[in-house]
């Protein structure tokens, strides 16, 4: 028998400490939403209203499915903690603007139900829900790897588009050495095909800086992740030019967006400092590794998912020694007692 856990936290109304931080779950989620907003704005400028429609569909589905879930399971409805909004927003930003409208709906539903709410019945969540939803959608590779060209606005009224009308997302490992006439500078500014949120590297970087300034993230985590992505792609270049190859890998696809996505829900992130650093480094390295193997076009999300699964073992492995549990001391104490 699987024991379902009481989902409501238990806390007496009056218990120490009587002094609580002003931070809240809502505040943390709001910070992530603010950090992702510039990328969203650029996505809308770049791909038109259809991009906004995709993201809004994803957010609305996430919020509605969470509310319905909580009504069914009679949990307290706390949409104001914004976690469902953030989940939907992240998922929407990971999708190209040209996806058929059923995809953000299905993805957000799967993310919230299967990867966000279901695991909480048995304890805590085990992964970033939006990543789970994205992986579910990656059964439809074609839709995910094709996007309209920048500033080529698609009609928001049309339900779906034929893949042949669209451009391929610049992912080096997929195309091997060709960036379809795009320069690294184009990738940096976001003048390229791609998912709604991942095209503008600069605006994502601004979001990360905001998160670090708000102290939601330690500066180490995104920096380590970025460095490991850059290092692996620089050491094993796909093209002849090391530097070009490195910049292209880092700036294309979801490598940059992954820096925020990987930490957007902490339930799949280790809590120990060293665990978090290893998580960041491994996410970056795995992202490039998976791209090279060609198993999946976009390596960042499967990499995050794999590391999510490893977070609990990582924590248990790297758990620091408890204060005062050193072996030497216990021996010394025993020696003292014997003397007495």
């Amino acid at each position: 028998m699987i024991k379902l856990r009481k989902p409501e936290p238990v806390r007496a109304l009056f218990e120490a400490p009587y002094f609580l931080t002003e931070e809240s779950v809502m505040g943390i989620n709001l910070d992530f939403i603010i950090a992702l907003t510039p990328a969203l704005v650029w996505g809308v400028i770049c791909f038109g209203l259809r991009a906004l429609a995709v993201v809004l569909l994803s957010v609305c589905t996430a919020v509605i499915s969470e509310t319905v879930w909580k009504l069914i399971f009679r949990q307290r409805i706390e949409t104001n903690d914004l976690s469902a909004v953030l989940c939907g927003l992240v998922l929407g930003l990971c999708l190209p603007a040209s996806v058929p409208y059923w995809m953000p709906v299905a993805g957000a539903f799967v993310a919230v139900v299967l990867f966000k709410q279901l695991p909480k019945l048995f304890g805590r969540g085990f992964c970033v829900p939006a990543v789970g939803g994205y992986l579910f959608l990656s059964f439809f590779q074609n839709e995910l790897t094709h996007s309209p060209k920048a500033f080529e606005y698609l009609s928001a009224a049309k339900f779906s588009f034929d893949v042949s009308e669209l451009a391929e997302i610049p992912l080096l490992a997929v195309n091997r050495a060709e960036l379809q006439g795009l320069s690294v500078f184009d990738l940096l500014l976001g003048r390229c095909p791609g998912a709604i949120g991942e095209v503008s590297v600069l605006l994502i970087a601004a979001g990360i800086i905001y998160l670090i300034w708000r102290r939601v993230l330690s500066w180490k985590l995104p920096v380590y992740m970025l460095l490991s992505t850059a290092l692996i792609s620089g050491l094993f270049p796909v093209t002849l030019d090391r530097v070009d190859s490195m910049f292209a890998e880092v700036f294309s696809g979801a490598a940059m967006l992954g820096l925020i996505v990987a930490f957007s829900d902490f339930s799949g992130v280790p809590v120990t400092d060293s665990g978090r650093e290893i998580y960041a480094v491994a996410c970056g390295a795995l992202c490039i590794g998976l791209r090279y193997t060609g198993l999946c076009a976009e390596g960042a999300f499967p990499a995050i998912f794999i590391m999510n699964l490893l977070s609990v073992p990582l924590d248990r492995l790297l758990q620091p020694k408890f204060f005062g549990s050193g072996k030497q001391q216990i021996k010394e104490k025993k020696g003292k007692e014997e003397k007495q």
Partner: protein, 444 residues
């Protein structure tokens, strides 16, 4: 001086203390006190006065059934009766308490005499005798009698650590003592150095602005016996285990105490009380208390006799403002919420805080499940992972919780403070810790 000591975890509270610049006021109104006949670690006590008796300040009113400290009257006045009360810190047993109506004169008993021998000719046993007669207890820490520590550990102690830091939010009582009576602290430290037969003491201070320019530093001067150790100003700096680790490098785990490693940690208040016992022969019958918090009309530092009620303290500070509030005895992170305002203040009370009920109450709309943000493990001074322990306890798996180190928790309350979900991991850890302790007792 240039070297600033540090420790893992902790939080620097930026709350402004409204009482920082206020001179301590002595409380000597005519009022009814209720003095509990109880000192932690001492034998049970019986009253040696009866209703209608006149008592003077410093007169014995409760004597122990076997060898131990006695309780002295904190004021001069008339005994109104003997009652049984329950202290908020330990509701399980009743203890006798003496009701005294103070006449407001604070007349000392004429028997009180300063100790007239030279310090260099005193033996530790003599010092212990004086401290026993004056019932000096370890203020701010466990509240046990200091003389027992001297008798048990003289010769085994290599480092005397005096904690003069103030890192708890709202607390200013130690700071005021340092500003107002630096010589008392120094005098007390000298006596304690003699008592433990050592020739040096480490004085712990925080590197906050408030403590940067204080008279204790000047009073220490360039004495080679006192070493000022400046620490980064973060709560829980007063934790003896952390101070021991920083000073001698040993980590004090559960089942051990700093004395096992040749260290003892005492507070500045204790040193001042030791000095008073020698210089004036005055027993420990009063202490500095900060009455503060957002709900107090006029926050104050008060020098109050033991046994005064919380109501009297609130009245002295012109009452409560801003609606319903909670009364907290001690530090807001670890203190006790008092529901009975007529209960007496004891030696273990360092501050009385009145905070708006809405702020301190984790009402249902603010509490949510753990989001695994990792703040609790980042601030834990004992290197625990509170979120994991709390999850194990919520799942009913106490064995796993103990395996994850619940016993090592120092109950500083920081994990619950920083939790953005306000899910209160400390109380889950305490459940596991208490179950581990009771299981061990059952094994015996």
């Amino acid at each position: 001086m240039s070297n600033v000591y540090s420790f893992r975890g902790g939080v620097h509270f930026t709350q402004k203390s409204p009482t920082l610049k206020l001179h301590t006021e002595r409380f000597k109104d005519q009022i009814k006190l209720c003095v509990p006949l109880f000192i932690p670690g001492e034998p049970d006590m019986t009253a040696c006065v009866k209703a209608g008796d006149t008592v003077l300040r410093g007169q014995e009113i409760g004597i122990p059934s076997s060898d131990g400290c006695s309780v002295h009257s904190p004021v001069s006045g008339t005994v109104e009766g003997i009652v049984n009360i329950r202290l908020p810190s330990d509701k399980s047993r009743e203890i006798p308490a003496i009701e005294i109506f103070s006449d407001g004169k604070m007349e000392n008993i004429p028997l009180l005499q300063p100790f007239d021998k030279k310090l260099s000719e005193t033996t530790p046993e003599e010092i212990a005798d004086v401290l026993k007669a004056a019932s000096v207890v370890n203020l701010n820490y466990d509240g046990t009698a200091v003389y027992r520590k001297i008798l048990a550990y003289t010769g085994k102690i290599r480092r005397l650590i005096i904690n003069c830091s103030e890192t708890e939010p709202f607390h200013t009582n130690t700071l005021r003592l340092m500003f107002e009576r630096p010589a008392d602290i120094i005098g007390g430290i000298k006596i304690l150095m003699r008592a433990f037969a050592i020739t040096g003491a480490d004085i712990i201070m925080a590197d906050s602005e408030e403590e940067a320019d204080n008279s204790l530093l000047k009073a220490c001067g360039k004495s080679k016996y006192f070493k000022i150790r400046i620490f980064e100003s973060r709560y829980p700096l007063s934790d003896p285990a952390l101070l021991t680790k920083a000073m001698i490098g040993y980590e004090v785990g559960p089942g051990t105490c700093p004395e096992d490693f040749g260290c003892t940690v005492l507070s500045a208040e204790t040193c001042a009380a030791v000095y008073h016992a020698f210089a004036f022969g005055l027993p420990l019958v009063e202490r500095r208390i900060t009455v503060s918090g957002e709900s107090v009309t006029h926050p104050k530092n008060l020098l109050v006799p033991f046994g005064i009620s919380y109501t009297a303290l609130i009245d002295k500070c012109d009452g409560i403002r801003n609606g319903p509030c909670a009364l907290i005895d001690g530090n807001p992170l670890t203190g006790i919420c008092i529901s009975d305002y007529s209960a007496p203040v004891t030696a273990s009370t360092s501050a009385v805080l009145l905070v708006p009920e809405l702020l301190c109450r984790a009402d249902a709309s603010r509490v949510s499940a753990c989001i695994n943000c990792g703040r609790c493990s980042a601030v834990c001074p004992r290197r625990l992972l509170p979120s994991y322990i709390a999850a194990a306890v919520n799942a009913g798996n106490m064995k796993k919780a103990v395996k994850l180190g619940a016993e090592f928790c120092s109950e500083c309350g920081l994990c619950s403070y920083v939790c953005p979900a306000h899910s209160g991991p400390m109380n889950r850890i305490l459940q596991a810790k208490n179950s581990a302790v009771s299981e061990k007792e059952a094994d015996r």
